[in-house]
Every structure is written in structure tokens, then in C-alpha cells.
Amino acid sequence: MSSTQTSFLKISHLRKSYGSLEILKDINIEIEEGGFLVLVGPSGCGKSTLLNTIAGLEPITSGDIAIDGRSVAGLHPSKRDIAMVFQSYALYPNMTVGGNIAFGMEIRGVPKEEREKAIKQVADMLQIGHLLDRKPGQLSGGQRQRVAMGRALVRDPKLFLFDEPLSNLDAKLRVDMRTEIKRLHQRMKTTIVYVTHDQIEAMTLATKIAVLKDGVLQQFGSPAEIYNNPANMFVADFMGSPAMNLLKAKIEGNGSGVAVSLARHQADPLVLSVPNAPGGLSAYSGKEVIFGIRPEALTDPDGADRNARTLGEGDCLIEVVEPAGADTFAVTHLGGKEIVARLRADVRITAGQTARLAFNLDKAVFFDPASQLRIA
């Protein structure tokens, strides 16, 4: 396609059910050519099923999937111009690495010389040239991962599908391969759909993230949108590590603006004025809302963001201090819940004592406690 504005992969009103059990409920997602779409959610949310429907490995109940302007619903997987990397790598155990990479071409009747050339090219790119004559059983996890990617790359498809490709690797290798996948994407500029349950993978790789839960698309947007403007409490809680603090707060109208009142342990409530509060919040005056603030927006006053327009401050009883090297995490109680603050590494703070914390209220978000939706 010529223009990058038109959507390259378009999923519209997609539904999928097994009998009376609905797995995917009215999914609408579009991604431009060269984009990196990450489907993220807890296990059982339907993300892998969604990927399988894109691949054509599972039929859809209704709706449509279009790749590059062409509807592929009902097409056989091999006719969709896609390649897929599986969680278990799914390397054919009886074939060599070279045989694995070339199997698709062999089936399509590509001549031998051409196959050899393609194998060599991909092997060079992934640095697996020395492994071509080995069987998958003789490879390490990282090498199998590369071969699986090689088998996908050699097809030069319109769309790459990755089904939790890094979940079987150990922590360090996972980070390395993550970088490698990102580098590969930048070089190949092929559109990718990537399934993971790891929100850090989602944040680092994606140009667009789709958060799913129970077969419902919770939010679809860029990583920054998802992170900073979560549409509901589920997205807010799921994305980010440590997770966003979500605590009960009471809204008090104070003439000019709005203030939140947070219950404190053995002390008066902490009242923070929020001059730039979203318009919808004034309707909640006198009522309870859920106040969301990420650990990094809750710091020691010296470590607070200097560009923040509204900083609130308050004394909190610090219960636990967890130095993590680059940062120090402090746990306190607010709004009846344990909450985490992310402080500078060398901050002087002791458990069991009261310390002053700064709230970056620019970054604070509010949710309706009943509907769990964001208050705009």
C-alpha cells in the first residue's frame, strides 16, 4: 500500500465463540503499515485466540479481518501472506534447522538453489549459519528462538505474528531477544502483531497496544496513551510495574476547584487540592472516587518532577523501605490501602517514621468506583 495512513491490518466487529461461550466480543483494531501491535492481557483474556483468528488457525464467528485492504476471513492460513512465531517455537523435530527454515518454500515448490539462497540470507541476518545442519533438539532455547524467527522471516510476509515468543526464555535472554526483535522490526519495517502477557514487553516494543480482558478490548492506543491515560481501572492496574496505586478518595469542592481527601493511618485525612482536575470530577463532589497515582508520581519532595504544575505534599507514615538499587520504594497506607512511592536511591528515610511525600497531581487519574471507568 502506498499511504501509511490507511490501515494495513483492520479487525472489525470481530466475534468468536465456542458454542455459547463467547471468547472475543466485538473487537475493533486497526494498525498502519509497519506498525507494531501488541495484544496484552492476563491469561485467558483471548489475546492468543485473537492472534489465531488473524492467522486463520481458528475460524471467526462474525466480523471481518482485512490485511492490506483484502479480507482474509475464510482464507487458509497459508494464503494470508503471514508468518508466525509460536510460543513453543514449533520447530519440526525431524528436520534440520535449514530444513525447518525452507519447509514452507519446499511445499510451495521453490527451486532448490533459490531456497539455499534464502536460507543463507536469513541465517546471516540471525547469525545462525553454523547451526543449519543441526536438529532442533541440539539447540539451546535462544538458538531455537532464532530459528523460529528465521522460519518466519524467510517467507517475507506482509504480516508477522508472534505468540508470546519470549516466555520460554530466561530473564536475561528475554531482554536481549526483545531488543533484537525491536531492531529487526526497525530494519524490516514489516507490520507485526505480537501477543504477550508481559506489560513491559508491550510497552517497549509496541507502536500500538491493545489491552484485552475477558474477550473485551479495554483500550487501544499508543504505549504513552495506555500508560498515562488509562481508560479504566483494569488498564491502569495492569500496565506498569510496580502497579499504579489505586486508592479510595473523597472529593471535596472548595470554591474555585476540587480537592481530594485521602484517609491516613492514625492522622487526619490528607487533603490535596487539584486545580487542573478533569471537568467530570466536580460532579463527584462529596462522593468517593478511586484516585490513581503511579509510584513514580509519588516521590520525596526533592525528587519530584520540576516540570509538574501541581504538586501536593503530605506527611505519611512509612511502613516498609525497599532499596532496589536505582530507586528506593517506600510503602505507606493511604485511603485504606497499601501504596508504593518511588523515591531517589539515596533518600534518607526510615521505616516506622513519618516522611514528607510529594504528589505529582498532573499525573493523577480518577475513576468511578462503580463503573471503574476513567473520569474525564
Binding site: A90, N94, G104
Partner: protein, 293 residues
Amino acid sequence: MSAPSPDNVISHNRLTRALIYTALILFAVYYLLPLYVMLVNSLKPLEEIRQGGMLNLPQVWTIEPWLQAWSTAQIGVQPTGLRPFFINSILMVVPAVVISTIIGALNGYVLTKWQFRGSNVFFGLLLLSCFIPFQIVLIPMARILGMLGLAGSLWGLILVHVVYGIGFTTLYFRNYYENFPTELVRAAQIDGASFFQIFYRILLPSSGPIIVVSVIWQFTNIWNDFLFGASFSGANTTPMTVALNNLVSSSTGVKEYNVHFAGAILAALPTLIVYIVSGRYFVRGLMSGAVKG
């Protein structure tokens, strides 16, 4: 197999060991004794057997009984020996084993990787055939073979054995393929492989152990079958087991025990060879589903 580990269940106490080995040797002797009797007596002339001393080694060694059993012994009315019937059995067993194994493998493939509505019920019905006693189906089967025009023919016998074997072979292959990663099938689908290409390029190369299990099981069962052979074979299609019976139970003339012994060993030889050649795969294949690494 696995090396003996220090936490072996059986203690390494010498006395315990001795007891275990004594028991094992006793059982082995008890089990091997008939074979020994058959073997030594098949190598004696008839007069020597008549003198008694079944357990003695031959005073005069001879392979004459073997040659007789193979090519000249009186079976029924003809002095043909067991050879033509041995050939009948081979002609019956080989196609029956091959066909039932292939169908079982295909069934297992479909029942695990291409499940359809009611496939589990279908599998249950197939399993049922493993539990139906042979005698029940004799008369309906005879009717059907007659209707198909296969009564008394080798292909009729092959059909009976294939039909009876499918239940077991399907069970073996289904359970084996149940553990075969479905993602491999999906990867092959994306690579554009067809239903049969996936079967023989991806699944079959990994099916060695279970094929061995299926072949041994089918071979021994079909080779040793007497009931179907006696019921459905014609004069020219009698299998080895039935012929052996005719040889041994012939009521006229002298009972040539040495020839009978030789014939019985000849009849047992093929299954013995199959076990010896592929027996270790048999155990490995039966276990491979259970202890998948």
C-alpha cells in the same frame, strides 16, 4: 534406560538380591521348560521319543523332523508340509498389519489434530471394538463376507483382521498424538502443508516408537489368530495356525511328535523374531507417552 540411583526402591542388601534372583530364575526356567522340550524333541528321531526321557538331549541329532514339518508332512489330505500355509499366513499378516496401522495412524491424527463435533464419541465407539469378544461377530461377519464375495478368500481374512485391529491401532496412535504439539501442525499449516503432507512430513517421522508398538501388537495377534482363520479361510487360504492344528490333530497314522514339535516352533518363529528385533522399542513406545521429557 535410567542408571541405578542410590535411592532405588529395592535395597541393595545381598540377601534380598539373592532372593529376587532365585525367584526370577525359577520363573524363567518354568517358562522356558516347554520351549526346551519342544526344541530337543524336534531334533530327535521318533524312536528316541518313544523310549521316554523327554528332557534328555538327543542321542542322534537330526533335522529330518523340521524338513518334514516344512515340506512333506501330511496336512489334511495332502502331504504338503506347512510351507504353503506359512506363505498364506505371511500373505495375510503383512497387508493386514500395514493397512490397520496406517488407518490407525490416520485415525489418531484426525482424532487429535482435526477434531470435529462428536469426535470423542467416535473414538469411544472405536474403542468399543477392543472389548467385543470375537465369537459374537462370527456369524454376522460370515454373512458380510459372503455378501462382499470375499468368503474363503485371503482378502476376506485381511478385511476381518483390519477391522478388528483398527480399534487398538487407533487407541495407540490417538494417545501418542495427543502429546504431539499442536503448534507444530499449525506451523505446518501456515507453511502451506496439506492434510496429508502434515501427516507424513511432520507426524509420521516422529511416530517410530508407536508404529513399532502397533506393528508388534497387530503382527502377533493376527499371526496367532486361530478362530477367524478356522472360520473364514478356504482350502487354499488356510493360515499357519489352522494348518498346525490339522497337522497335530490328524487322527490317522502314527503320531510324529518330533514333526509336531518342529511345526509348532515354525509357527511361533515369526512372532518371536518380531519381538527380538523390535522388542526394546515396544517397551519404549508403550512408555513414551507416559514419561515424556
